[in-house]
């Protein structure tokens, strides 16, 4: 178990690495601005995993998630002139990706699919995932995205607010509604009486 001093040193090292990574990223952005394609390739390699994972969590479809991530990288390249601080590329591309996901969710037809009796309360992770997907599909896009960003992606309220371009108060109220609805759906799927 590391003591306080060791922990402090570790955190300083991590902080330094993090700062170096951001500076490095700023240099890459500068190179991209000057037309260096290999620099953008490096940026894609750095961020693709996170973007695809997030898009996959929100959309619940890996193929569509990959499409959205690709679209996000193209859009980020087109709108690179909007990026004021070169070090902030990570949050810039993340925001673009989440917004594209929300747009896709809005385009999808909202069709609450009633759960089959055989699907209810199944055990096992695969069945559980299918059930969760069906439950999430019944939430409106904004509620669903907010819930996933907070619960699955573990973003802070402030981060969710920045990504979703809404005030923190709105994030709180959306989460309140989303969690309550999700709990109700979850209980209904498990045939439990909801008070």
């Amino acid at each position: 178990m590391p003591d306080g001093k060791e922990r402090m040193i570790n955190s300083r090292i991590q902080e330094g690495i993090f700062r170096d990574a951001r500076e490095d990223e700023a240099l890459l952005v500068v190179r991209v601005r000057s037309g260096d394609e290999s620099a953008y390739k490096e940026l894609i390699d750095r961020h693709r995993t996170r973007l695809i994972r997030t898009a996959s969590n929100i959309l619940r479809d890996p193929i569509e998630a990959e499409d959205v991530a690709q679209e996000a990288f193209l859009k980020a390249y087109r709108e690179l002139y909007r990026l004021r601080e070169d070090r902030a590329f990570a949050s810039f591309i993340y925001r673009i990706c989440v917004r594209l996901c929300v747009d896709r969710l809005r385009l999808r037809r909202a069709e609450p699919s009633p759960l089959e009796p055989s699907e209810q309360a199944q055990s096992g992770s695969v069945e559980n995932k299918v059930l969760i997907e069906k439950l999430l599909a019944q939430l409106p896009p904004d509620l669903k995205t907010t819930l996933i960003l907070r619960e699955v992606e573990q973003l802070s309220y402030e981060e969710v607010a920045v990504v979703m371009k809404v005030p923190v108060g709105t994030v709180r109220s959306r989460l309140h509604t989303a969690r309550e609805r999700f709990r109700t759906l979850w209980m209904a799927a498990h045939d439990i009486d909801i008070d």
Binding site: A69, Q70, R78, I132, E151, R183
Partner: protein, 149 residues
């Protein structure tokens, strides 16, 4: 029947505001949850549902191996199409100018009144009216001088 404290607990819990409570309020709320069957059931259900959501989240899918290359190709295609779009008005303008030039040429040759070489208006210059313009003027040959007398 849910009390006012129950609904207050739900509100705080759903908005993640329980962590912001001071020590006294937090312990009061904790004791309430322990005693109240409605709130303890709610807490259990909420925790269970959110846990299932979190577990379902990480799919482990990181995209196909050709992802980066596909993005780069798409980027190149996009840049090319943008470049073409940039030059498109110039190409269209040049094509229009060529068409216009040939059109004017056609009109001028078909309508002789527009032809400044033949303003009289007859399309064909009759051979009678035409005057042969000799390229070389015939040399005025003077009669040979005769030595008379």
């Amino acid at each position: 029947m849910a009390s006012k404290l129950c609904s207050e607990y739900r509100r705080l819990r759903l908005r993640d505001e329980t962590v912001e409570l001071n020590g006294r309020d937090a312990s009061a709320l904790f004791h309430h949850i322990q005693k109240c069957p409605i709130c303890s059931t709610f807490e259990k259900e909420l925790t269970e549902s959110l846990m299932a959501l979190r577990e379902s989240g990480d799919t482990g899918y990181t995209g196909s191996s050709s992802f980066t290359d596909r993005v780069i190709y798409a980027l190149r295609a996009e840049r090319l199409s943008r470049r073409l779009q940039f030059w498109q008005p110039a190409f269209a303008g040049a094509a229009a100018a060529v068409v216009l030039f040939f059109l004017i040429l056609q009109i001028v040759t078909a309508r002789p009144e527009m032809n400044y070489l033949n303003p009289s208006g007859s399309a064909r210059v009759s051979s009678e009216n035409s005057r042969e313009i000799p390229i070389f003027e015939p040399s005025t040959t003077q009669p040979p001088l005769t030595q008379e007398g």
